[in-house]
Symmetry: D2
Subunit: 264 residues, 4 copies
């Protein structure tokens, strides 16, 4: 049997990450008595030593596939847990020093509108990554949430009002695998860092509430970014916390941006 | 010599459009004493009769390449003119009934800020298409311009102010090849249809001007769309005019949208 | 109460489509004893008469939200059926002449690899649209499927082999609401139109099967497009059928493309 | 005069990067007796101390604008040189510790087809970044080039041939500002690392040349990545070199990927 992958490469150089990008599959998660159905985009990588020409790519897929089949037994309650099982299974097939898996997906939150008290479903982008480096595990949780900024400088200098725009808040937490952090709580932190959080459904009275709130909380992207870090500080322990805010300016063609980090 | 393309296909069906997508090249245009350098994305198609297995794709590229070489002789003053020469050259190589070429690019406009009177460069997305159907020529010019909407309903019901957001206006004009229409004039129409036009550079006094103007011209997407149609009506004769506005709501995760058309 | 939307607009022009774009929500479908969970991107539009300044955008969301709440009673077995209920509900709130709803989502198919007979999950992009024009309903079903093309001309003229590349097949069917057409069957048609269909998991023996099949079925994009139309002809009755193939050439930076249509 | 930006923020936290993203403008470069016209996407950032509420965003734009006006005097021969002048000008207006500018653009290369010896223009994506950290300058040059991979394992085990696909090679070099490295030479390295380089125009005899070359140089993504590192090793001195290859598999829906780095 021919095993081209195990041959010696022409240029004997170690590679940091070799694997698969943009694989899509179906994953079911049960968490807090709720069932989540994901069709995530998956990236999965491992290192490759200088003496091997290639990795056996089909083994990555097999590790994923076999774990997904095991899922019916109901043992997975988070994407990071499934990720850990996949990387453990991969370790048996491929002897790696470091490996990494990333899931990009969306989660729905069931919310109530602020004044009219109606049901509304809000969908947020999430990314869950897991890294194994020489046996130790690190997880990275990331949420990307839509909100807005109302410019405090324009509000201070103009009688008529200020400029307001959609903004995207990004919160990333790197921590130990066992440090239980909820994506919903991360989304809540970003929601509460904007001039106002936003809703898919807004009756007229809700819309007025949001408009008032934006004018009562005028924020630069720098403020939103610091709000995220400050709110995270008290909630997420033993973590590296990274926050970004991108504001799609209504008075410019370009965006404004702020980025910061703290450790807890 | 083997000519697989000229063989008879298994399923003898006519195809409407066969060709090349997403080709990039370098094109130089001289117009109104200004020189424009484009690296457009080009799509080029023709119909294929039911008795031919395929088109000779390299002939498309050759038609483009040969015309671009001719350019040094300085005879082209618009993308549609280059497009016409390419489709004429293609007709000699490939006998088609209908053919089409599209150029997606950007153009820079040199502007002055509204109060501080400083220089600012504004870049806009454009698309120029040319269709030959049985010998007759139609051109389609399209500009996509960034501006904003300030909600008139929220302004009417709230004391604090309204919600404002970035919006994208899209104006498309279909007309005879010989009807000379300027992309800059189309951009001006879209600029003037928003609550306010926007600028890359804004000093504090310019920013106040734009903020005031947005509050003085509160528009729904429907208003922006009708403004574009109404302003176009008096400017662009003998044309099919199509207008769209997409507003990236600051109070929602989704966008709102309006689309309309008139004929002049 | 102020109703800015019902005021008379400055420019009294009818608009073809006014509504919401890129709204995301959670939808559960039961079909053929399988449960599908969608987080679709939804667009929803209606026409607007020349005497109304704007539409009440929140009524669109309410129509969607109220239908989704009704869903627990289990009466929906397709996205088009949910879409029909949403547009019917919208008709009560907003008196329109024409309206339209679009769902962009993904569906997972549970497949078996060709030789090793292992389980594999394949995810495909789908789009389901529904239009009401003056009371009559039309639905448009669309699938976008990944496969490949192996060039027959290069295979004929070269001893070493041919050039092969990833290709995307797009099949769209426009038909009466009551004409029951399965998205899975449409995906199967596209799969069978390529040089070979592809799989997420491929053991070495499966990979050889796919490589052989690509070389045994060398196709231009024109062939793939005609294959889709020809296979659709016998399967999908009383429909307008539109097929596209885009081939991401391995020997060029650009793509090649073919597009055709038939009516059954 | 109100200067909201200089007020003390509520949460006194230092921010790593504050600035502008996705700004587009027009830039002219003269280099090696050729004139390049860029419409780059520009990102520009600086750090923000914990005692300042915000940065003056318009000063970023002014720094860019003023430098671009100076350009007519003809002193710029690279994007990194313009970037350095912009960051120096920004330092005068804003006293930062670290700052960064990024230009994303495209460059055209004028090439000759391999057998038919015809002219062809090839467009490549580039990114040029410049960082100032406490007075010291680092530049990062990046090129993204399209080519292909022909699988060596499938070629070894199948009689009919192998699977081939489009691939994207990415080469990034981090080095001192004064280390003169040519983007064209970086593109050449990536071109020569694939199974074959590709061309926009290919006559039949050129196509055969490319098809042959792909079959004579079967490479995994790992091989392409190592080829880039190995070829760079001898060419680019005193640099951190980072290489990636993404292969858009023709037999799968997903991509395969390899990434590595060396220092010279």
């Amino acid at each position: 049997m021919i095993n081209t992958q195990d041959e010696s490469p022409k240029h004997q150089l170690k590679l940091e990450r070799v694997g698969i990008k943009n694989l899509k599959t179906l994953i079911k998660i049960e968490r807090n008595n709720k069932e989540y159905m994901h069709i995530p985009k998956i990236n999965i990588f491992m290192d490759l030593t200088e003496d091997k020409k290639g990795v056996h790519m089909s083994r990555f897929i097999e590790s994923i596939t076999e774990i997904l089949e095991d899922e019916v037994r109901g043992e997975h309650n988070s994407l990071e847990q499934i990720g850990k099982h996949i990387l453990e299974k991969l370790k048996v097939k491929h002897s790696y020093i470091s490996a990494e898996i990333e899931f990009e997906s969306e989660i729905p939150l069931f919310e109530i509108t602020p004044v009219s008290k109606k049901d509304t479903i809000e969908i947020h982008d999430i990314k869950v990554s897991l890294r194994n480096n020489n046996g130790s595990w690190i997880k990275i949780l990331e949420v990307s949430v839509i909100g807005n900024t109302a410019c405090p400088h324009a509000l201070a200098v103009n009688k008529k009002g200020t400029h307001i725009q959609r903004a995207i808040g990004n919160l990333r937490i790197e921590t130990d695998f066992d440090n239980d952090i909820d994506l919903e709580e991360m989304i809540r932190v970003v929601d509460n860092s904007f001039s106002s959080r936003v809703f898919t459904l807004l009756k007229t009275e809700d819309e007025s509430f949001v408009v008032d709130r934006m004018h009562n909380n005028p924020f630069f992207v720098e403020d939103v970014c610091r709000n995220m870090l400050s709110l995270s500080f008290s909630k997420f322990k033993k973590s590296k916390i990274h926050a970004e805010c991108l504001s799609q300016e209504s008075i410019h063609r370009h965006d404004v941006f702020a980025e910061g980090a703290i450790e807890t």
